[in-house]
Symmetry: C2
Subunit: 204 residues, 2 copies
């Protein structure tokens, strides 16, 4: 069994996607809590672990991977081959959604939620909500003709995008208006090993 | 020779990274101009090409790839193997920076520039500049101990991050204060096939 350590924060959707993927793959994952709200990611000690100064960070023996999307890709390539497709077009299709998870899902749903969770963050809520509405509408349309974001099967693309979308209500975004998104979240919930995080309950 | 078509906009740094990579690889690239400022990406016709409603989009025969980072990955996997590393840890190292290109480089330098280029965009310039300063300082420190962003060689990681960083001055961000970033941009400029885009000149 690999020796996996996750630098983690329990309220982070980006950490949650790693916790969920490890659970789905049946991989043991030691969690090390990082005091994000107290500025621990900005310390010199943390810089030595993560020059990007962010969580999650995965340590697999001597290998360190930063960024939740990169961690999903690493885990899939090493431990979960069914969750990617190694052809150029397959990797590209997945990668479109890894970028979407890094950018759109972050700038909309994640920032909306963060502005309520941590009022000290100087977030433009109006803009975050505008992006959030657009993201939910776009996903709802795309998911009206497919069950999974790409490749006709569950992949790390779905895991990369779903957490902050599933947490949209905490950012005052209208998830209930988007039935195809809700049905997709239900399909993710039904994957063996999946478990929700705080804030996704009870409605999800 | 492949039959490559890029849905392009000349002022887009995300399009530029694809144009540069094609030039470096010696691949012919037909350009199709998209009227982004007139809302063409939001039309129904464009949705049928790109459900994410964004540029650049690459068409390679029957294959369509959205998102500049996904396009770089696709091109490297298919036409430029030296520009990636296919091991799990190599792909992860590159991917950290693809996410950085999608998020940090976008939210800081790209948004700062866009607020000056297109005042109709409702951008929080103060926040974009704060992120931009942080990004430049972070890159400058990271590049103080290495020539390339990862793997000790030029990869698509560098190409993913550099355009909006190299265009920082157009967003009123102080590139000149960051000598390691400037030296890195010079190394990218020296790659055979590289060419600058408008706005990177004359200082770069």
């Amino acid at each position: 069994m690999p020796d996996l350590l996750l630098y983690d924060f329990h309220l982070s959707g980006n950490c949650h996607k790693i916790r969920v993927f490890a659970a789905i793959l049946g991989l043991p994952l030691e969690l090390k809590n990082v005091q994000v709200l107290d500025g621990e990611t900005r310390t010199e000690d943390f810089y030595q672990i993560s020059p990007m100064q962010q969580i999650p960070v995965l340590k697999d023996g001597d290998i360190i991977v930063q960024d939740s999307q990169a961690i999903l890709l690493y885990m899939a390539m090493k431990y979960g081959h069914d969750w990617i497709d190694r052809t150029p077009e397959g990797m590209a299709a997945i990668h479109e959604w890894l970028s979407y998870g890094a950018k759109e899902a972050s700038n909309g749903p994640q920032m909306s939620r963060l502005s309520f969770l941590d009022p000290h963050e100087n977030i433009d809520l109006e803009r975050a909500q505008a992006v959030g509405h657009k993201v939910l509408a776009q996903l709802d349309r795309i998911l009206s003709t497919r069950d999974w974001l790409c490749l006709g099967k569950p992949t790390i693309a779905d895991l990369a995008v779903f957490p902050y979308v599933a947490l949209s209500r905490e950012g005052n975004l209208p998830l209930d208006d988007h039935p195809n998104v809700l049905a997709w979240i239900d399909r993710i919930r039904a994957i063996p090993g999946y478990y929700p995080m705080e804030g996704m309950l009870p409605a999800l």
